[in-house]
């Protein structure tokens, strides 16, 4: 009986940690602003592939939406119509976000800056600024 109760408590703890690690501070709705970094070799600002796909063509803003809901990451367009869905993993302890985009693994360091988050890709090539919607 005691053994069963212990297993039950351990399972609860494990599940709680898992669920927490998935949502944490990253959960919810964000406006993502693409970080445009100047690259001297191209004499232009670098625009990442994700930003290029999701930017708002009408306003020419390098901005899109990212919604983290449970285990899923949604990219709705700026009008809130079309939604693209990916599964993601967020490590709350290490502050690392991982998701597959067009079959390619994306890993981001998540840096807290005030109320906002700065996402820096593993190879430093992509920087996104996330502000609460």
């Amino acid at each position: 009986m005691k053994k069963k109760a212990l297993i039950f408590i351990l399972m609860q703890l494990w599940f709680f940690n898992y669920a927490n690690a998935q949502v944490g501070e990253i959960g919810g709705r964000w406006n993502a602003n693409c970080g445009l970094e100047y690259h001297p070799e191209f004499k232009a600002d670098f625009v990442c592939g994700i930003c290029d796909d999701f930017r708002n063509a009408e306003k020419q803003l390098k901005q899109f939406r990212m919604y983290f809901v449970n285990d899923s990451l949604y990219f709705p367009d700026m009008r809130g119509n079309e939604k693209k869905y990916f599964s993601y993993k967020y490590d709350l302890k290490l502050k690392v976000l991982k998701f597959k985009y067009k079959g390619i693994s994306q890993t981001f360091k998540v840096i807290q800056a005030g109320e906002s988050l700065i996402l820096v890709s593993e190879n430093q090539g992509v920087i996104l600024l996330l502000k609460r919607e």
């Binding site: 406006n31 602003n33 693409c34 970080g35 445009l36 970094e37 100047y38 001297p40 004499k43 232009a44 600002d45 803003l61 390098k62 901005q63 302890k93 290490l94 502050k95 690392v96 360091k109 840096i111 807290q112 800056a113 005030g114 109320e115 906002s116 700065i118 820096v120 430093q124 920087i127 996104l128 600024l129 502000k131």
Partner: protein, 137 residues
């Protein structure tokens, strides 16, 4: 022929369309220090500038103010809730979108990254990220 001439005239009038987005630093900015987790030991890193400017007010613990005077090429650092500030010279490399200054013996070279209406300052060794939000009066 006529078309290419029109294109040349158009590009002459709007040269910015070809070049990188311009940076406008003039004025006051609220700086939010990027606190980064170090993967090896999961400790939290904040950069030395943030340690120097740390406010006594808990609400603004990781925030301070930078005021740029682009004509005098000076930048003033002041703490939230503080009465005075430190003014130092800085160099803005406009085309390279970089800035450099020396604060209390520490040399800093930052890349200025445009993100919407804000800027992110990325230190050259990627040890420090500062988020700049314009203070509108």
């Amino acid at each position: 022929m006529k078309l290419s001439l029109s294109f040349l005239v158009f590009m002459f009038c709007f040269p910015d369309l070809l070049s990188a987005q311009k940076i406008y630093l003039q004025g006051s900015w609220k700086i939010s220090c990027g606190t980064e987790t170090i993967l090896a030991d999961t400790s939290v890193l904040s950069c030395t500038i943030c340690d120097l400017q740390k406010s006594d007010l808990p609400k603004y613990k990781n925030q301070f103010i930078m005021r740029f005077d682009t004509i005098a090429s000076t930048v003033t650092f002041s703490k939230y809730g503080g009465t005075s500030g430190t003014t130092i010279p800085f160099i803005h490399f406009i085309h390279e979108k970089q800035m450099q200054f020396t604060l209390e013996g520490n040399y800093y070279l930052f890349s200025i990254i445009t993100a919407g209406n804000d800027y992110i300052l990325k230190e050259q060794n990627e040890m420090c990220y500062l988020l700049m939000g314009k203070i509108v009066k």
